[in-house]
């Protein structure tokens, strides 16, 4: 019964293709986001209760040599610090989650799982840098760390209601699945409340991400 519940949850999250990216947005705001590569995916549905706290649901998939490990988590994010400058903004978020993992990367099994992490970024209208780290664990079954860093620039200061284009480079390190750093050049676009990204890594993995604020 428990396994059925897990699979129903995972199926729902995957089928609805929902994933999330901005950890906390404005009070009352909702975000759905989907971050996808062959080696992993991160899907979120989040609700910001205030401009400092958000909660929601999160599904992760990690794939290595045809084996998948999947997690379903209830999430709680906190904006610990925000700097609002005249021409830039910086943020530091704390990320947490608790749920269930269905693991088969190293050891096979299904049991409770926990996630902790942080995300920090700085951006102006034409420059962007970000760093985030997630640590996933399930006692005696599963441990995985993921670190991502991004730098990006926009060639122009586009007006509020027009299509925005960014060029970005992402570096990702997941030592439990690959000992090398994966670099992914990508294009980011956003228009009104929709953001999408496409890229291809130096390993030849495609990337397709989508995020909607509403």
């Amino acid at each position: 019964m428990r396994a059925v519940g897990i699979y129903l949850f995972i199926f729902f999250m995957t089928a609805s293709n929902l994933v999330l990216a901005h950890p906390v947005i404005y009070g009352g705001g909702k975000v759905v986001s989907s971050f996808n590569m062959p080696s992993y995916s991160d899907n979120q549905l989040m609700y910001s209760m205030t401009s400092k706290w958000a909660s929601g649901l999160n599904h992760w998939r990690f794939t290595k040599e045809g084996r998948n490990t999947e997690l379903g988590l209830a999430r709680l994010n906190h904006l610990l610090y925000r700097y609002n400058g005249e021409d830039s903004q910086a943020n530091f978020y704390l990320l947490s989650g608790v749920g269930i993992v269905d693991a088969e990367l190293e050891t096979k099994g299904t049991r409770e799982a926990y996630m902790g992490g942080f995300e920090t970024d700085w951006e102006s209208r034409t420059l962007f840098v970000a760093l985030k780290h997630y640590q996933f664990t399930s006692p005696s079954l599963f441990d995985l760390g993921m670190t991502q860093a991004r730098v990006g620039f926009s060639p122009s200061e586009t007006p509020f209601d027009q299509l925005q284009t960014w060029f970005m480079l992402q570096a990702m390190y997941m030592p439990e699945t690959d000992r090398t750093v994966m670099l992914t050049p990508l294009l980011r676009f956003f228009y009104h409340n929709v953001l999408w990204e496409v890229g291809s890594s130096t390993r030849g993995e495609w990337m397709a991400n989508l995020m909607v604020h509403f």
Partner: protein
């Protein structure tokens, strides 16, 4: 005297119902996706006729139906809840 009182009343009434343009300078407003929250929050207020966001000047321009429909404190609360800081508020 009655005419004078009526004129004063009429003048005050006209003054209080004329539309007001409010310009808010907002710190931290660099991302249009994130600034959608500001627009959404102000659009939800019935007395707001028009809302414009200018990322270049970091200005939010609000047109209200009547003068004094939107107090400074209310504007600051909305901007803060959207995650930003108010640098200044001007009214015309």
């Amino acid at each position: 005297m009655k005419a004078l009182t009526f004129s004063l009343f009429a003048l005050l009434s006209i003054a209080s119902v004329r539309a007001e343009d409010i310009t808010v300078k907002v710190n931290g407003m660099v991302c249009s996706l994130c600034a959608q929250g500001i627009q959404k929050k102000f659009k939800a207020i019935s007395s707001v006729q028009e809302i414009k966001v200018d990322l270049s000047s970091k200005l939010v321009s609000i047109k209200t139906q009547n003068a004094n429909d939107l107090a400074d404190d209310k504007i600051k609360t909305i901007i803060t809840e959207a995650g930003y800081n108010v640098a200044s508020i001007e009214r015309k």
